[in-house]
């Protein structure tokens, strides 16, 4: 005991700048008490348990609905087999949380029906989301740990990442990209086994542009609050929007600003754009956070939200429950649900088909996307809510 005491005293003594150890500990204790305050307050005020999560597992649905004979045959083949899968999104977010839960739903479904077991790990780069290096390290660690498959979405540079994937595939860890704008790159340069996502041009930018044109009756002005320049998703969605604008010459983009994919900057950018163009008919936020920021800018300026006839129409893209809630409240007109849940389900389905059933899978597998507004928000919300009921897979 005395040795550890001495050891801890050493560095303290070296920096004895005028306070005694007693004072030091008193201060540390005070800091500790301050730190504990939020927890204590919560314990005081939280009346009943607010957690209502219920684990409900559906046997039906999923892919390969082949009936009992099929399930038995596959079970014979797969029973007792284990697949180790790593999931690495560019950032921890509501979108990737939904996708991860969808993966869990599908893994449980297969476990229940076929007796296949799964190992699951998830990690996201801690720093800059578009740094290749961090995703490179994550992939390499999992390859060394003998993972069977890696599901990855990354902001890292395309060419550099293909080298990383090539190295992993050569060592037997297969790569499945999710949610990547594959339409931007020549498919013969793509090194991953398969890519589960959607076409950002036709299934996001184009449908959003067409929705705006449709609601405005083919005539009106748009402001764009866009992702940071250089983001591949921004590039692809812009191409889709351009196509929709070409088909609808009455719709004009009168302003565009960088909203950095975050609400704060999207809010400020929309506020500034609205100052220059207060009579605009629609604001297209490239993701939901920026669209919701734009919605707040409309409120702040005292302008009217779209009511079906007039006001300012707002549209985003993601398909998050927070966005659905805003649609219900009329604060967001619409959003493009880019199928985060279906991508998760599709990824697990593809891994199983390819690696356990020996099936050939397409290099690019696009899931359906849909514009969500008040008319269909309940069904989409229920679908995401179902995915989120999946308990954590361990």
């Amino acid at each position: 005991m005395s040795t550890t005491d001495d050891a801890s005293r050493g560095p303290l003594r070296a920096h004895q700048g005028g306070t005694t150890r007693g004072q030091f500990f008193k201060r540390t204790a005070a800091a500790g008490a301050l730190l504990a305050a939020p927890v204590a307050t919560l314990a005081t005020f939280e009346g009943e348990d607010s957690g209502t999560a219920t684990a409900q597992n559906s046997d039906s649905g999923g892919s390969f609905p082949g009936g009992t004979g099929y399930d038995e045959a596959i079970s014979k083949k797969l029973k007792g087999k284990t697949l180790k899968v790593g999931f690495t999104p560019p950032v921890l977010s509501e979108f990737f949380d939904e996708m991860e839960h969808a993966c869990w739903q599908q893994m449980r479904n297969y476990e229940h029906r076929f007796g296949v077991k799964w190992g699951w790990a998830r990690t996201a780069p801690a720093g800059n989301f578009d740094a290749v290096q961090e995703h490179f390290n994550i992939v390499q660690n999992w390859v060394t740990a003998g993972f069977d498959a890696i599901l990855i979405c990354t902001g890292g540079d395309f060419a550099s990442m293909q080298k990383v994937y090539k190295g992993a595939e050569d060592k037997g860890t297969l790569i499945y990209q999710v949610n990547m704008p594959m339409e931007l790159w020549p498919i013969d340069q793509v090194a991953s086994s398969s890519n589960i996502g959607y076409d950002n041009r036709m299934q996001s930018g184009y449908v959003a542009g067409s929705y705006i044109a449709d609601k405005l009756g083919g005539k009106g002005t748009i402001l764009q609050v866009w992702g940071p320049s250089g983001s591949p998703w921004s590039v692809a969605r812009q191409q889709g929007l351009d196509l929709a604008l070409k088909e609808n010459p009455g719709i004009k983009v009168v302003g565009k600003a960088d909203g950095g994919y975050v609400r704060d900057k999207g809010f400020a950018a929309a506020q500034n754009l609205l100052e220059a163009h207060p009579d605009v008919n629609a604001i297209y936020g490239e993701n939901e956070e920026m669209a919701l920021g734009a919605s707040q800018a409309i409120d702040a300026k005292g302008l009217k939200h779209w009511d079906g006839k007039d006001g300012i129409l707002t549209i985003g893209a993601d398909g998050l429950r927070s966005g659905f809630q805003a649609i219900r409240k009329g604060r967001l007109t619409a959003t493009v649900d880019v199928g985060g849940v279906d991508q998760g389900i599709g990824a697990i389905q593809t891994v199983l088909a390819h690696q356990l059933l020996g099936m050939a899978v397409d290099r690019v597998i696009n899931v359906p996307t849909v514009v969500v507004d008040k008319s269909n928000v309940d069904e989409r919300d229920a679908y995401v809510a179902w995915a989120l009921t999946a308990p954590k897979y361990t």
Binding site: H15, G47, F96, R263
Partner: protein, 350 residues
């Protein structure tokens, strides 16, 4: 402190004094830039737009005031953005679980202060450099919010009162509460720096730490107090931001520290300590918001934004330094070499 030699008195008119004060060059730059913009775009000089810009600059403004105090005392706090995010998360979570707003605010402020004290203790007791200690705190606070939320934002906690506190609703005549809070914070900070004993200790520590220690200033205590203050103000920004955004994303406040440092430096603060201006910091924050406003209003391709902001920061700081240098040259020829170009404590405060 200033040399009151009457030699150059007739030249010491008000505009000249403003221009040559700490960060005054940035003010001149801001005014010139705004004047040019006003002639180019009719929307720029409308009261709506100006109040928008003020509203947008409030959050960076408060952080820049805190950062200026930290810089004057010779430190740097990289953790403010992450602390703002985490404390905003605390408010959102507590309010979402039925805790009354006031309690949630107090908890957030206490947490921010505590994290600041931890910064101060790590620096003074363990001898870790300020830059490293607060960088580590950035990681800890940001990481805590990520682990806690698992990436899923806090929503559905905002009340009408809270929206007003966040500045989404005007109190009167386009004035929002965060603007008033910035004014109060800036005034209190300026008074503290120039009038109080603690303020003179902060300045003394920043210009000559060893000298201050030898003349009886408890430099470690000053450092801990400065970081506690910085943490508390970061928490204040977290509270306001969570009200303004009405959701707390795990990435909330990301990068605020760099913008706060940029604003403080635009305002004349020196990274070497001992020099800085609270009013300058607020001017710096407004300058940053005006730059974005101009880019958005004039319809410039957003791809240029990052580059333009960088160049303008460089230009504004250069303008500030050149004016200060020119002024010191012209006075140096006539009076004793008392001119201040960054080393002495004389220019601190407003």
């Amino acid at each position: 402190m200033a040399t009151q030699t009457p030699i150059g008195a007739q030249a010491r008119t008000l505009p000249r004094r403003i221009a040559t004060s700490t960060g005054g060059g940035t003010l001149v730059f801001l005014l010139v830039m705004s004047a040019i913009m006003a002639t180019q775009n009719s929307k720029f000089l409308t009261s709506n737009n100006l109040f928008n810009v003020l509203n947008q600059s409030v959050f960076i403004g408060i952080l820049a005031v805190a950062m200026t105090i930290v810089l004057i005392h010779g430190g740097i706090d990289l953790s403010v953005g992450a602390v703002a995010g985490l404390t905003g998360g605390v408010v959102a979570y507590l309010m979402g679980h039925g805790v009354p707003m006031g309690w949630a605010f107090i908890d957030a402020l206490m947490l921010g202060t505590a994290l600041g004290i931890v910064n101060g203790l790590v620096i003074t007791r363990l001898g870790v450099p300020d830059f490293i200690a607060t960088l580590a705190m950035l990681g800890v606070a940001r990481g805590l919010l990520f682990v806690w939320t698992q990436g899923v934002p806090f929503i559905d906690y905002a009340t009408d009162t809270y929206r007003t506190i966040g500045g989404l609703k005007d109190l009167f005549w386009q004035i929002t509460l965060p603007m008033i809070i910035l004014l109060v914070v800036a005034f209190a900070a300026a008074t503290m720096l120039t009038r109080s004993r603690f303020g003179s200790h902060v300045r003394a520590t920043g210009s000559n730490r060893e000298g201050a220690r030898l003349s009886g200033v408890a430099v470690d205590k000053v450092k801990i107090a400065v970081y506690a203050l910085s943490g508390a103000l970061a928490a204040l920004v977290g509270i306001l931001l969570a009200g303004r955004l009405t959701t707390v994303q795990p990435g909330m406040g990301e990068g605020l520290e760099l913008r706060a440092i940029a604003a403080a430096i635009l305002g004349g603060a020196a990274l070497t300590g001992g020099r800085g201006s609270v009013v300058g910091a607020v001017v710096g924050a407004i300058t940053l918001a005006v730059i974005q406003n101009i880019i958005n209003l004039s319809g410039l391709n957003p791809a240029w934004e990052t580059l333009i902001v960088g160049v303008i920061i460089l230009a504004a700081v250069l303008a500030d330094r050149l004016i200060t240098l020119a002024a010191s040259r012209s006075t140096a020829t006539t009076s004793t070499p008392a001119a201040d170009t960054g080393s002495g404590p004389a220019m601190a405060g407003t």
